[in-house]
Amino acid sequence: MSATSWAWLVLLFPLLGSITIALGFRRTSWRFAGIVGTGAIALAFVCGIAALITLLGESPDARHHTSALWEYASVASLQIKLGIYVDPLSVFMILVVSGVSTLIHLYSFGYMQSDEGYHRFFSYLNFFVFSMLLLVLAGNFVLLIVGWAFVGFASYALISFWYRRTTATRAGIKAFVINVVGDIGLVLAAFLIFQQLGTFEYTEVFAKAPQVFHTNEWTVTAICLLLLVGAFAKSAQLPLHTWLPDAMEGPTPVSSLIHAATMVTAGVYLIARTHVLFVLAPTAADIAAFGGLATLLVAATIALVMTDLKRAIAYSTMSQIGYMIVGVSIGAYSAGLFHLMTHAFFKALLFMAAGSIIAAMANEQNIDKMSGFGKAMRFTSVTMLCGGLALAAFPFTAGFFSKDEILAYASARGGMYLIFTILGYFGALLTAIYTFRLIFRVLGGKPCAEAQELIDTGHGAHAEAPFNPATGETEDTDIGFPGAVHHFAEGSPPMKVAMGILAFLALFAGFIQVPGVDETITHFLDPVFADSPLAAIHPTTSASWFGLLIGGLISVAGVGIAYLLYVARPDTPRRLQERFAAVHTFLYNKWYFDEAIDILVVRPALAVGRFADNVFERIVIDGAITGGTEETVGRAGVIVRTFQNGIVRTYGLFLVFGAVGLALYFLIQQS
C-alpha cells in the first residue's frame, strides 16, 4: 500500500470513531465510547507508522506524494480537489498528533469516567483529531483552511464542553471568533495566492512561487503576513493570544491535547509548510520571529505570577510556542519541529498531572490553596516532576536538547539573530523559575486539607456542593456540568499508563536528536526543507554543545532560584510582590491585553450595533424612508379631502378653475 492510502486511513479512523460514538450515544455504554475512541486514534497512529515505513522505503527526494478523492469544487478556473499531500513533514506531524492523542484519549478514558457527557466528549475528541490530521495532511490551501476551521470548531466545542457554565461558553465563543479571524487571514492569503499563481495546490504553489515572485516583493510579503494572522491566531501568539488562557475552562484532557500538544502548534506547522514563501519574504519571516520572541517573554513573565494552575501552564505553552515560531521563522525548521514534538510530550504530561491534582482538589485550581501533594500523590508528583524538568530544559531531558537547538541555530545564523539567542536564554531562565515555582508550591510544603485527606483515607476530597472554580456559583453534576466523582491518576490505571509513557518520553525523547551524535529528525525532514537556503546553515557541533552547556547552567540556576524563593525563604515572594506592586498587578492582569481588545474592538462593534439598531433603523429606515412616504401621501389625501367640503359651489369653483386653467394652457402652449 502506498503512503497516501495509509494517510487516507489515518484520516478515516478518527472520523469513523467520532461518528460511531455520536450515533451510538443512546444505545452504548461509556466504556464502549472510550474504547472505540481510543482505539480509533491508536489505529490512526499505527497507520501513521505504516506511512512512515513506506515513506522511508523510498529515496529521500521522492518522499512526497499527492492524492485526491474527488473534485470538491472545481469550476470557472478554480481547481479545488479533496486532496492530501504526504511528505516527511506531514508524516512527522501525523505521528506526533496521533501518538500524543492516543495517550490523552487513554487518560481521558479514566479522567472523564463519571461525566454525563462521556459520549459527546469522545466524539468531539475524535473529531478534533480527525480535523488536526486533515490540517496537516491537506494537499491544498482550501483543504488546509477547512482543517484549520475544523480544529477551531472542535476546540470551541470542547472548551465549552461543560456548556451550562457561562464562563465556559463565553470562553468558547471567544476562542472561536478569534480563530475565525485567523481563518479570514488564511482565506485572504489563499485569494492572493490564487490571484498571483492561479492555483491552490501546495505542489504547484511552491513550484511556481520562486519563479513568479522576487524576494520581498509586496505581494509575497502580504501573503506571508496574512498567513501569519492565521498562524498567530491559532498558536496564541501576541496579540491574538487572549483566548488561550480562557480556554482552560475546558476539561483538563482538552487543555492537554488541544491547547498544549497539538492544535496550538498548527501555526508552527503552517510556517514550516509554507517556508518557501517565507524564504521569499524575509521581512515577513522576521516579523514572525519577533512576534514569537515577544510572546515568549511576555507569556513567561505572566506565568511567573499566575495563581491558577492550568492558566499558568497555558501561559508557559504560549511561551514555548514562541520558541517554535522563532525557530521555524528564522530557519531552524527541524529544530522548531523537534521542539514541537518534545513540547507535546512534556506539556501534555504537565497538564495531565495538573488535571490529576485538580481532580484531587475537587476542581479547585488555585495554587495558593494547594500544597504537599508530593506525599499525597506519589505517581502524579513524580510524573509532574519529569514534565517540569523537561519544560525547564533540565540537562539531558527532552526540552534541554530541543530548545537549545533553536537558540544554537539563531547564534549560528548570527547578526541580529543573536538577539534571539540572548533573549531566548533569558526566557529559558524565566521558564525554569515559573515551572519550579509551580512544582514546589504544589508538591512541596505541608499537605493542605485535601492532600491530608488523601493521605489518610486514600481517596480524593469531595467538595460538599460542586461549584464553578472561576465564579464559585454552585452546580449540579448533570449534563453540562462536571461529573460527580473526580478521578485522578492514583485511582485509575489508564491515566497511569498514559502519564507513565509520557513521563518516559519527556525524559528521554531528546536523545533521538543529539547534536553530532544522531540527528534523526533533521535527517528525516531534510528533503522537505532542502530547497530553503536557510536549511544550509548548521551550527557546528561544538557550538551546539557550548549552547547546551549554557542552557543547562541557566536551567539549573533557574531551578535554584525557584528553590530559594519558594522553599528556602517562602516569604520572599510576598515581599517582592509588595516591593514591585505595580509590576505585579501589571503582570497579574496579563499585561491588560483583554482590556485593550475590549476597548479597541468589542465595545466599538457593540456601539455601532446599538447605533444601527436604535438610531439608524428607527430614524432613517422607518422614519425617513417609510414614514416619510406615508406622511407625504397622507398629507396629500388630507388636502384632497379638505377641498371635498360638500359645498356644491366649491365644486363649481374648481370646475371653472379647471376650465380657466385648461383654456390658458391650450392658448399658450401653441404661441
Binding site: 401621501v633 397622507g634 396629500a636 389625501g637 388636502i639 384632497v640 379631502r641 377641498f643 371635498q644 360638500g646 356644491v648 366649491t650 365644486y651 363649481g652 374648481f654 370646475l655 371653472v656 378653475f657 379647471g658 376650465a659 386653467g661 385648461l662 383654456a663 394652457y665 391650450f666 392658448l667 402652449q669 401653441q670
Partner: protein, 502 residues
C-alpha cells in the same frame, strides 16, 4: 327653396334598430308602470329590451355604417361600448330588485329612466355629430339626475341628485360653449366635417379652435370624472342608491370615454399634437388626486368613487397616445372595469341590506368567515382594481402601459404605476377587513350615511344569500379571474373595437 319639398334622409332601419328597440322598450315600460298589476313586469320588460338591443347590436358586429346624414355611426367601438352599458344596466336591474328606491320612484318610471339613460349611452357611443353628441349626453345625464334622487327618504339621495344636476349642467353648458366655438371655427357639426374644416380653413392651432377644445374637454372630463372636474363623483356615488351608483360608475364612464375617444381622434385628429400633452397632464392629476383621496375612506361607495377617479386617469392614457393600441387598451380597460366594479357593488348592496352599517367598511368585517360567497368576489375585485396579476386588472394595466410606452408617454406610465402603489393602501385595507383581524383604527365615529340614520337599518337580513345579488358578484369575479388567465378573446375584441376608429 323655402318650403320646397324636402327629401327625407335615407334611414337604415336595420342599423338604427337597437336605438328604436330601446325607445320602444322605454315607452312600453312607462305604460306598464301605470297600472298596479302590470307594474311588476317592469323589470322583466327592461331586461327584455336590453336583451333585444344587445342582440340587434351584435348583429352589426364588424359593420361600419354612417346613419341618417352622418348623425350616427355604427362601428365596433360603438357596439362594444353599448354592450358594456347594456351589461351594466342588466346587472343594475338585478341589484335593484327589492331596492327601496325602485319602489319609491314607482317601478315603471324607475326602469324607464334606466332604459332612457341606456338609450343616451347607445346614442352617445354612436354619435358622430355635435348636436347628436350633445343631445345624447343629456339623454344620458338627465335620467341619472333623477335616479340619483329616487331614494327620496334619504336626504343624501336628494342632495346627490341636486349636486349632480347643478355641477352636471354647469359641465354641459361649458361643453356646449366649447362645441359652439368648434362649430364656428370649422363651419360644421359633423365630426368628419370638423376634421376637414380644421385643415380647409387653416384653423390648425387657431385659438378659436383651441379654446373650443379646452371648453369641450372640461365637459367630457366632467362626465368621465377626471380631476379637477371629479368632485361630484364621491358625493354622488355615496348619495345615490347603490344600484344606480354601480350603473353610473361603469356605464356612464364607458359611454363618455367612447365619445371622448371618437371626438378627439376623429373630429380633432388634426389637432392631436395640441391636446395630447394637455390630456396627459389631466390624467396624471386625476391619478394622484383619486388615489390619495381614497385613502382612509370608510364608506365603500365613496372609496370606489375616488378609485373611479384614479382609474379614469389610467384610462385617459389610452386616449392620450391616440393610437390604435391606445384605443384598444381603453376599450379593454372599460370592459374589465365593468366586471371589477360590478363584483364590488353587488357585495356592497348585499351588505348594506343585511347589516346596520350601510356601505361602511365595518359592514364587510369578517366577511371571509361569515359569507365566503361575498368575500371572494369583493376580494378579487379589489385585487383586480389594484392591478395584481392573475386578474384582468393586471392585463388591463399591462395593455395600457404598453400602449403608453409605445406612444412615448413613459412618464405617464410611471404615474400609473405610482398611483397603483398608493391604491394598494386602500384596496388592501378592504381585503384586510374581510379576512384579517380588525385593524385598530377602523371604526370610531359612524359616518352620517351609515349606521346612524334610521333608513340604513337592515331591510333584508339574508340579502347575502339572494341569488340576484350573489350570482352577479360571483359571475363578475369569475370573469375577472378568467380574463386574467385567458385574456386573449377580450384582447381581440378590444383591439377590434379600437381599430374601427382608424
Amino acid at each position: 327653396m323655402a318650403g320646397a319639398g324636402f327629401n327625407a334622409p335615407h334611414v337604415d332601419y336595420a342599423a338604427t334598430a337597437p336605438v328604436i328597440a330601446l325607445t320602444v322598450g322605454l315607452v312600453v315600460i312607462l305604460i306598464s308602470g301605470v297600472s298596479g298589476p302590470t307594474r311588476r313586469w317592469a323589470p322583466g320588460l327592461a331586461v327584455l329590451t336590453l336583451g333585444a338591443t344587445a342582440g340587434l347590436l351584435l348583429w352589426h358586429w364588424n359593420d361600419r355604417i354612417d346613419l341618417i346624414a352622418g348623425a350616427l355611426r355604427v362601428d365596433d367601438l360603438a357596439i362594444a361600448i353599448s354592450l358594456i352599458a347594456i351589461a351594466t344596466a342588466f346587472t343594475t336591474i338585478l341589484l335593484s330588485i327589492r331596492e327601496r328606491a325602485a319602489d319609491e320612484a314607482g317601478r315603471g318610471e324607475y326602469y324607464a329612466l334606466l332604459i332612457g339613460s341606456v338609450l343616451g349611452m347607445v346614442l352617445l357611443s354612436e354619435a358622430e355629430n355635435l348636436v347628436t353628441f350633445f343631445v345624447a349626453i343629456e339623454t344620458l345625464s338627465i335620467p341619472l339626475y333623477i335616479l340619483c334622487a329616487t331614494n327620496l327618504r334619504r336626504e343624501g339621495s336628494l342632495e346627490s341628485g341636486l349636486k349632480y344636476l347643478i355641477v352636471g349642467s354647469l359641465g354641459s353648458a361649458t361643453l356646449l360653449y366649447g362645441m359652439a366655438f368648434i362649430y364656428g371655427g370649422t363651419g360644421s357639426t359633423d365630426f368628419a366635417g370638423i376634421a376637414h374644416g380644421i385643415e380647409a380653413h387653416g384653423m390648425l392651432h387657431d385659438p378659436l379652435i383651441l379654446i373650443g377644445i379646452a371648453l369641450a374637454l372640461v365637459g367630457l372630463a366632467f362626465k368621465t370624472s377626471i380631476a379637477p372636474f371629479h368632485q361630484w363623483t364621491p358625493d354622488v356615488y355615496q348619495g345615490a342608491p347603490t344600484p344606480i351608483t354601480s350603473f353610473m360608475a361603469v356605464a356612464t364612464k364607458a359611454a363618455a370615454f367612447a365619445v371622448f375617444l371618437r371626438f378627439f381622434v376623429v373630429a380633432l385628429g388634426p389637432e392631436t399634437g395640441d391636446w395630447q400633452m394637455g390630456l396627459a397632464i389631466l390624467a396624471a392629476i386625476s391619478i394622484v388626486v383619486g388615489n390619495v383621496g381614497a385613502l382612509g375612506q370608510d364608506s365603500l361607495k365613496r372609496l370606489l368613487g375616488y378609485s373611479g377617479v384614479a382609474q379614469a386617469g389610467y384610462m385617459l392614457g389610452g386616449i392620450v397616445v391616440a393610437t390604435e393600441k391606445g384605443a384598444g387598451s381603453l376599450v379593454f380597460y372599460l370592459a374589465i372595469y365593468l366586471f371589477m366594479n360590478l363584483a364590488a357593488f353587488a357585495v356592497v348592496v348585499a351588505r348594506e341590506r343585511e347589516t346596520p352599517f350601510g356601505d361602511d367598511i365595518r359592514g364587510v368585517r369578517g366577511l371571509g368567515a361569515e359569507r365566503p360567497a361575498l368575500a371572494w368576489p369583493l376580494t378579487i375585485s379589489m385585487l383586480a382594481l389594484a392591478g395584481l396579476p392573475a386578474t384582468a386588472g393586471f392585463i388591463g394595466k399591462l395593455y395600457l402601459i404598453e400602449a403608453l410606452v409605445e406612444g412615448d408617454y413613459l412618464w405617464l406610465a410611471i404615474f400609473i404605476v405610482g398611483g397603483t402603489m398608493i391604491s394598494l393602501a386602500y384596496y388592501l385595507r378592504v381585503v384586510a377587513a374581510m379576512w384579517m383581524r380588525p385593524e385598530t383604527e377602523v371604526g370610531g365615529a359612524t359616518p352620517a350615511i351609515a349606521g346612524a340614520s334610521p333608513e340604513a337599518d337592515p331591510v333584508d337580513p339574508d340579502a347575502g344569500r339572494r341569488w340576484y345579488l350573489v350570482a352577479p358578484a360571483v359571475l363578475a369575479a369569475g370573469i375577472t379571474v378568467f380574463l386574467g388567465v385567458i385574456p386573449q378573446p377580450l384582447v381581440d375584441f378590444a383591439t377590434h373595437a379600437g381599430a374601427s376608429l382608424f
